[in-house]
Amino acid sequence: MSAGTAKVTSNRIKESRDNLLFDIFVYTFLTIALIVVLYPLYFVVIASFSDPYMVLRGDVIWYPKGITFGSYEKIFQNADIWIGYVNSIKYTVVGTLLNVVLTVFLAYPLSRSYFCLRKPFTLIVLVTMYFGGGMIPTYILVNKLGLRNTMGSLIFVGAVSAYNVIIARTFFQSNIPSELEEAAEIDGCTKGRFFFSFVPQLSKSIVAVLSLYYAVGHWNDYMKGLLYIDKREMYPLQLILRGILMEGQGLANDFADVDEIEAKLKLAESLKYGVIIVAVIPPLLLYPFIQRYFIKGVMIGSLKG
């Protein structure tokens, strides 16, 4: 009896020691992951307002040195960035509005179990998830329709994302069951009134999820701009950024007062940190508020792929 108890106790001790070791491992590993993800972002921030020469020499590692807002001044004077900024905000707002309306209007009928065309319409949507015309046929179509160098090319192509339609459909299925609609009808509510007055109230969170998915997509998209926009004054921000960050366009000219070409290029290089910060500020400001919605979206999407 006592030997048995002792054995159980020693097992318990071993178990709790194993668990403790495991906990230590969990916390250590996650802390490392945290640092690995956070440090590059942190470095961009401190580098953006440190003395450029110190950054380029590698003196700035843990905290900013020789604090200066010189590069931000240069960035604020850069007309291209502002053009891109304004354009991107415009494309994002209008595009997202169109996306959300189209997606919700389509997803709601597809979520009604009694809808007679539910299956064929769903199939039409699903096909686009796996098969498409490809880059060049789409480009030719956009040209044919005269949408090149218009906002239309950026917001019409891919206006309805099949993935988002499925997410919204799943949401409506589980949150606004067809029975609810029937019940409302018995109470004398017409179908039109139900959709336009009750559905919006019940679907705030899915509208938030969709808006955020689409908005981030628009803000971050550079491919459509690359393909369909040639006019510089219509460039979305990402296209301007590509010129600056990848090709060092324009920046060296901002340093007319510096004589040496090499110094010019180096200073231009240091400006990039500030440019990155300016570019990620809008999504970053929204991030804490939208985080839970993004997660919600993934959860709904995972219910049925």
Partner: protein
């Protein structure tokens, strides 16, 4: 017979009338889908034609499989295919396990504050645009002024021109992807982990299982269906690796390793204006993807009844 047909027509008429408001709601989105998703599919016939912009897609001469044959025989074909497959495979192998591993660890954390912080930070890189990500790589990895090389130099190692070395392109490409998307990828597994029946844990704990055993014998088997679904979806996207990122990181020095099918389509189509040829290459890519998706889906259906469709 006539009566049956009549009642069928009658029934549909009634249903269409009843659902008229729903059909009306679908119309705007369906118009966009037909024009901008199905419209380009009409252009796929270019893959089998000698496209002439004056004669249009329909009026151009049929040439059969000429473009495909030219693509398969071109000297670039094998290196492009190899690069595409390798980046896909390397990317899949490197990026698939991390989210699962991270989710299991995060799920173990009991301190709410730490848990929330880890989640918030790990999700963040997902929202950085490709252009900004590549811009960050560009400045960090710069041979003369980037922090990575400054650190290498400070410990007495040689500076490496990461983006100029073809042999390092795949590592930069894949690991920056792991950095950006591992956190986001774990959400779905976290959801699966939290939905495990608590009774399963209780039973195992009574049997004296420690945390590691709980993970191995309960958590992993329980989230296996999710893992399989995610694997199917990743394989379905196998050859669709991001055009944007490869294109942005591409330069003449690493081109031999960074040229993949999608960047080749852009180069051939947009820069060399060979619309028909690059449509053929795009169609080839799409078909390979669909075949892969069907194969993996069939296998997983046979193995454990989890499938996408």
């Amino acid at each position: 017979m006539e009566a049956v047909k009549k009642s069928w027509v009658h029934r549909w008429k009634k249903m269409l009338k009843r659902d008229f408001h729903l059909i009306l709601l679908c119309v705007p989105a369906l118009i966009f889908i037909f024009i901008f998703d199905y419209g380009p599919m009409y252009g796929i016939q270019m893959a089998f034609k000698d496209y002439n912009s004056r004669r249009g897609i329909w009026g151009s001469e049929w040439v059969g499989f000429e473009h495909f044959i030219r693509f398969f025989n071109s000297p670039d074909f094998w290196s492009i295919l190899k690069n595409t497959l390798w980046l896909s495979l390397y990317g899949l192998l490197a990026s698939f396990p991390f989210p699962i591993f991270l989710a299991i660890l995060v799920n173990q954390v009991t301190r709410t504050k730490f848990k929330k912080t880890v989640q918030m930070v790990l999700y963040a890189p997902h929202f950085i645009s490709v252009v900004v990500l590549c811009g960050m790589l560009n400045v960090f990895l710069s041979p003369s002024t980037g922090i990575v090389n400054n650190l290498l130099a400070s410990v007495g190692m040689e500076r490496i021109f990461f983006l100029g070395k073809a042999s390092l392109f795949d590592d930069v490409f894949v690991w920056s992807g792991v950095w950006q998307n591992s956190g986001w990828g774990m959400i779905i597994y976290l959801a699966a982990l939290t939905s495990i029946d608590p009774e399963l844990y209780e039973a195992a704990r009574i049997d004296g299982a420690n945390k590691v055993r709980l993970i191995l014998h309960i958590e992993i088997p329980q989230i296996l269906p999710t893992i399989v679904i995610m694997l199917i979806m990743s394989v379905g996207r196998f050859m669709n690796i991001g055009f944007q990122k490869a294109f942005l990181l591409q330069n003449t020095m690493n081109l031999q390793k960074s040229e993949i099918i999608s960047t080749y389509i852009y180069r051939m189509g947009m820069l060399s204006q060979q619309f028909d040829f690059s449509t053929a290459v795009g169609l080839f890519n799409n078909i390979v993807n669909i075949i892969l998706l069907v194969i993996v889906n069939t296998i997983s259906k046979k193995l454990n009844e989890t499938s996408l469709f």
